[in-house]
């Protein structure tokens, strides 16, 4: 719907759809729950050039903007694909903004290595992180994609305000404890720093915050995709399924429910788009819009995922049905990155700061 895209962006979406459709991503989400190991989608991301989306062309990146990354993430979400971009891209964006070493950026842009963002602000409860010059202590809980990354971009508070550091994942004092997840597609870990040493990135305080906000809006874009995928599935079922002599989609109870899904999805998508534009045109509003996008994307998926099951009736609540996988995605995503209230609170914070 009413999205004005450039030809390049249309192509990016098509290419993403093409690359992902060749993988059984939804089936893989179930297989992991059954104890099987799923194919990593990182090579897909590398081959498609997504690993370097936000890295400059000087370091073998594509030099594109978050807006483009969101388009890719929406396609990933639609198929429940997690190519570890949620951790990688925000980390790369901070490295890029800080003008980090070209080889450091290049290895990640080319996909030889992965980066991950470890921002205490988005940590689960019991997160404690302190930074003293180049030394990092504490544990950040529930970090996306840290497992398997070789470089961690750590964001925390120094006495002077928020700072970002690059910490090697294999540095002394770094421990990355992978956790099993309700949504099997995710890579979630607790990251502990026991006096680990890192290198400070040269970034203004406002730009340090960009990493977390970018992760939130990418996650929002991904959730919009997931909700939209669930809606598409539900819509098809509502057209085909007959009850009491009519397609169930002809009943107002079902019809209005699907429109409610659409409404929430479009609201979230509008904010994802607006945040993407703000990054380029009005960076001061980026944080506000990114967090608002996250809030509305949660509202969209919180509503769409369970209702997808409900509309499908009993069959929707079975292990074999895909609806379950979207539901698990929704339940888990809501609690990622500090949970739903963290984003709402950030929206309030940005607005109240204008008083």
């Amino acid at each position: 719907m009413y999205l004005a895209l450039t030809d390049e962006q249309e192509f990016l979406i098509e290419a993403a759809a093409g690359a992902l459709d060749r993988r059984p991503t939804v089936e893989a989400a179930r297989a992991v729950l059954d104890g099987e190991s799923a194919e990593s989608l990182w090579p897909v991301a590398v081959e498609a050039g997504w690993s370097g989306l936000l890295t400059g062309e000087d370091a073998d990146g594509a030099g594109l903007a978050p807006y483009d990354a969101m388009l890719v993430l929406e396609e990933c979400g639609r198929r429940l694909a997690d190519a570890r971009l949620l951790g990688h891209l925000p980390a790369c964006a901070l490295l890029e903004a800080a003008g980090a070493d070209a080889e450091l950026r290049g290895a990640r842009a080319r996909g030889e290595r992965r980066a991950a963002l470890v921002d205490a602000r988005l940590g689960e409860r019991s997160t404690t992180l302190s930074v003293a010059v180049t030394e990092v202590r504490g544990t950040v809980r529930g970090v996306l994609d840290a497992d398997g990354a070789d470089v961690l971009v750590v964001v925390g508070q120094d006495t002077g305000g928020p700072v970002a550091l690059v910490v090697e994942a294999d540095a002394e004092g770094v421990k990355i404890a992978l956790r099993a997840a309700y949504d099997g597609t995710r890579s979630l870990a607790d990251v502990t720093f026991d006096g680990a040493r890192g290198t400070r990135l040269e970034l203004a305080a406002a730009r340090v915050r960009d990493g977390a906000d970018l992760q939130l809006v990418l996650l929002a874009a991904e959730s919009v995709g997931a909700a939209d995928g669930a809606l598409a599935m539900t819509r098809d079922y509502a057209v085909d399924r007959i009850a009491f002599g009519r397609a169930i989609g002809s009943y107002q109870a079902i019809k209005h429910k699907l429109v409610e899904m659409l409404r929430r999805i479009e609201n979230a998508r509008s904010l994802v788009v607006a945040a993407g534009r703000a990054w380029d045109e009005d960076r001061d509003r980026f944080g506000l819009l990114a967090n608002a996008a996250r809030v509305q994307s949660i509202s969209a998926l919180d509503y769409t995922a369970p209702e997808t099951i409900f509309v499908h009736g009993g069959v929707g609540a079975t292990w074999e049905h895909d609806a379950m996988l979207f539901y698990r995605r929704g339940e888990a995503s809501r609690r990622l990155c500090g949970g739903a209230d963290t984003a709402a609170d950030a929206v309030a914070d940005a607005l109240l700061a204008t008083l």
Partner: protein
Amino acid sequence: MSTIDATNLETWRAELRTWLDENAEHAPARTVLEPKTDEQVAHWRAWQARMADAGYVGITWPSEYGGRDGVPAQVVEVERELKARDLQGGFDFIGLDMIGPTILAHGSREQKERMIPPLLRADETWCQLLSEPGAGSDLASVSTRAKRQDDGSWLVNGQKVWTSFAQHAAFAILLARTDTEVAKHKGLTTFLVPLDLAGITIRPLRQITGDAEFNEVFLDDVVLTDDMRIGEPGEGWKVTLTMLGFERVAVGSGLHATQIGPLVRTVGARPEDREDARIRVRLGEVASQLLALEATSERVMEEIGEGRVPGPDAGLIKITSVLASLDACRLAVDVAGQEALREGEWSNQVSALPGVRSAGGTEEILRNLIGERVLGLPPEPRPAPATPKGR
């Protein structure tokens, strides 16, 4: 046990309490979870047998079939006492609450004598073969076919789904189409089917929890003798409506909703949360719904205790139960964090709830029913009833 009235109900209640004090150790704890291991099932069945022997299940049923000729108030008392002690009731609630009363209402004397006593003791447990892949909410459109044979027996072919407890059951009540020439509600007949007959295949159906709470049941050339029929041929819808009425009573008198205790314990686990205005207000709002659910169940139980049959508005309890439990789970996991999704009580509830919503009539069907029967709103115009195709 002699007939109970207001004057001796008090004495009877005292006996019940004493008995429960003495026998509670044999009872499983009340939980929203289904029993998982064979051992748990056996333990729960034994508890039902113990209760039956003491006269605390089938209380209102005729003594000639093993009941106690009691009054509804006694049933309500038993439920209240069990609840207060956090103990389970009978294992085979489908048999006790729905099928048993249906057999007593529509079955032959021979059927009652054969079926009821072992049902009471959970020696033989029951399940329902009603829904089909193509007939969920619209139950009257079932297409499982029972064809009369020349020898008077019935040849059954079809597929049933969402059958709870089929893996434990000895018998099922079956709704099948016996006449394809008449309007869809008129061509149905019900049967009481031994599940060990040739041609019956039970296939577990895994739910979101990963466990198989339901089953698919396939019927391939299953032969039923005519004495397994309950009600007249063509009266299957009437028998089914009787059973659904009893189901409403069962739903109204206490359901598998989230319990307040565990919710409060989870939400209040950390001292700082207990002082957090946002968490407190959410807890207060969610808990109020759960308290309303309890209070409404109490009202329905009281009505049952007075011998009246709850109206369709008892279906509101089902709706609130699901909505309030969803809110409760959302809050509990929001506070406890992502990890609570991985295993344990909340993980199980989060996964089990979506299935509960569809079981026993979707919310939409219940709202139609309540809107039309309780509020007197006009029904939707329906397409002319079509005669369903047979197999």
